[in-house]
């Protein structure tokens, strides 16, 4: 829980990046084991929080398979390893929900086209800026007021609709939206004040 509170420093991010590289270049199973042992339990927790506990093992399987197979697509100047793994996890979760027929308005467009994962081909995202922002966001979320952080977590991590979160927190929908909006503004202000 201690490590869970503080999150990853940039040294940590470098370590995971190195491990991913070893997986990509050398198909290094020991390196992959380290990645697996850190991320698999967190992906499982994400699945449970998203209300798809029954498919938690399947989600872990899918994500870790993608990581193993696509480690060479990870670009360390674009995102930290955990951000990259998050985007894969999110997309696989959506795919899983689609397969289960749990998403309402289905659409004949592939998940990976709707939620594209940035790669080095996209040179318009300034990599230095992306990484500096990354470091900064990690720091900034710790400074969000508790009630805003809870709202963001529920939307982001638990995949709940605004209405569901509002009901759960026993606040009007407008209040909840206000908290989300404020938290986004705060993160933005903190980013901009850094002159990225």
């Amino acid at each position: 829980m201690e490590a869970a509170k503080t999150g990853m420093g940039s040294d940590e991010a470098k370590k995971w990046g190195r491990l991913l590289q070893q997986v990509a270049h050398d198909r290094d199973r020991a390196a992959f084991r380290e990645i697996y042992e850190y991320f698999a339990p967190r992906i499982k927790a994400y699945a449970i929080n998203q209300g798809i506990g029954q498919q938690a093992d399947e989600l872990v399987q899918e994500v870790m398979t993608s990581v193993w197979r696509s480690a060479d697509k990870y670009v360390d100047t674009l995102a930290s390893p955990s951000t990259w793994i998050f985007t894969i996890t999110r997309n696989q979760r959506i795919d899983l929900l689609r397969k289960l027929g749990r998403l309402k308005a289905e659409i004949n467009v592939e998940t990976e086209d709707l939620w594209q994962i940035p790669t080095e081909e996209d040179t318009t995202i300034h990599s230095i800026q992306a990484l500096a922002a990354e470091k900064h966001i990690r720091h900034s979320i710790k400074q969000l007021p508790e009630e805003q952080l809870i709202a963001v977590r529920k939307v982001y991590y638990e995949g709940k609709t605004h209405q569901e979160v509002a009901t759960e927190l026993n606040v009007p929908l407008g209040t909840l939206k206000g908290r989300l909006r404020l938290s986004m503004q705060k993160l933005k202000v903190m980013l901009e004040s850094k002159d990225l």
């Binding site: 199973r29 995102a79 930290s80 709707l114 790669t119």
Partner: protein, 215 residues
């Protein structure tokens, strides 16, 4: 360069993967044309990465890794795992002809044509279409029951609230009545995503309602 973007909450829901797919299509179409919002998205993804790290991990059995590795090279077991593809691609590329001029437009009035994507996208409860407004032409005043997202793919238009150009993302709801007018120099082509029918409000134009109605 786009000047009108999705609001923060729409972007948050999109990055969290909870925004409905039809609306996510509009956001993705905008991202393809907007560098600023691609950067915003990477920042929001970071938020996701940080939240993932900071979660309390669930127990996973020690032998699970070995079992996982036993199956990992077996293509048949893991083939379904989608591998992220390298691209910043146009999300509409697979559903539209290569050129707008190849589109089988359906003329609705002399100045407005439409290409309805709702059916080919297999959507229910939403309406997704491309609209083509002749240069300088005006769409009759209307309002929306739900939310209308518009992404300008080519040209531009103006309405009571502003002037919009290629790449811009415009969100309108029941509180807005507007009369979009295409800019003078070229036809305006937009992607529109509606979660409820629009209503024409001008007294002489109500006859248009059935034409534009929910199908």
């Amino acid at each position: 360069m786009s000047n009108h973007h999705p609001d923060d909450i729409t972007m948050l829901d999109y990055a969290a993967g909870t925004l409905p797919m039809a609306q996510s299509l509009a956001v993705a179409a905008h991202l393809f044309l907007c560098e600023t919002c691609r950067t915003r998205t990477t920042q929001l993804n970071t938020l996701g990465g940080a939240v993932l790290e900071q979660s309390s991990p669930q127990q996973i059995k020690v032998q699970e890794f070995d079992r996982f590795m036993d199956g990992i090279d077996d293509e048949s077991v893991a083939a379904k795992a989608a591998v992220p593809k390298a691209k910043n691609g146009n999300p509409l590329a697979k559903i539209l002809p290569e050129r707008f001029s190849d589109i089988n437009w359906r003329q609705q009035t002399k100045e407005i044509a439409e290409y309805d994507l709702t059916k080919s996208l297999g959507l229910k409860g939403y309406r997704v279409a491309l609209q083509k407004i002749k240069a300088g032409a005006r769409v009759p005043e209307h309002t929306h029951k739900g939310r209308e997202l518009t992404v300008i793919l080519s040209g531009g238009f103006s309405d009571e609230l502003g002037v919009y150009h290629e790449g811009d993302f415009v969100s309108r709801d029941a509180t807005h009545q507007h009369t979009p007018t295409a800019l003078q120099n070229e036809d305006c082509i937009c992607l529109t995503v509606l979660d409820a029918p629009i209503r024409f409000t001008g007294p002489l134009l109500r006859w248009l309602n059935p034409l534009f109605a929910w199908r």
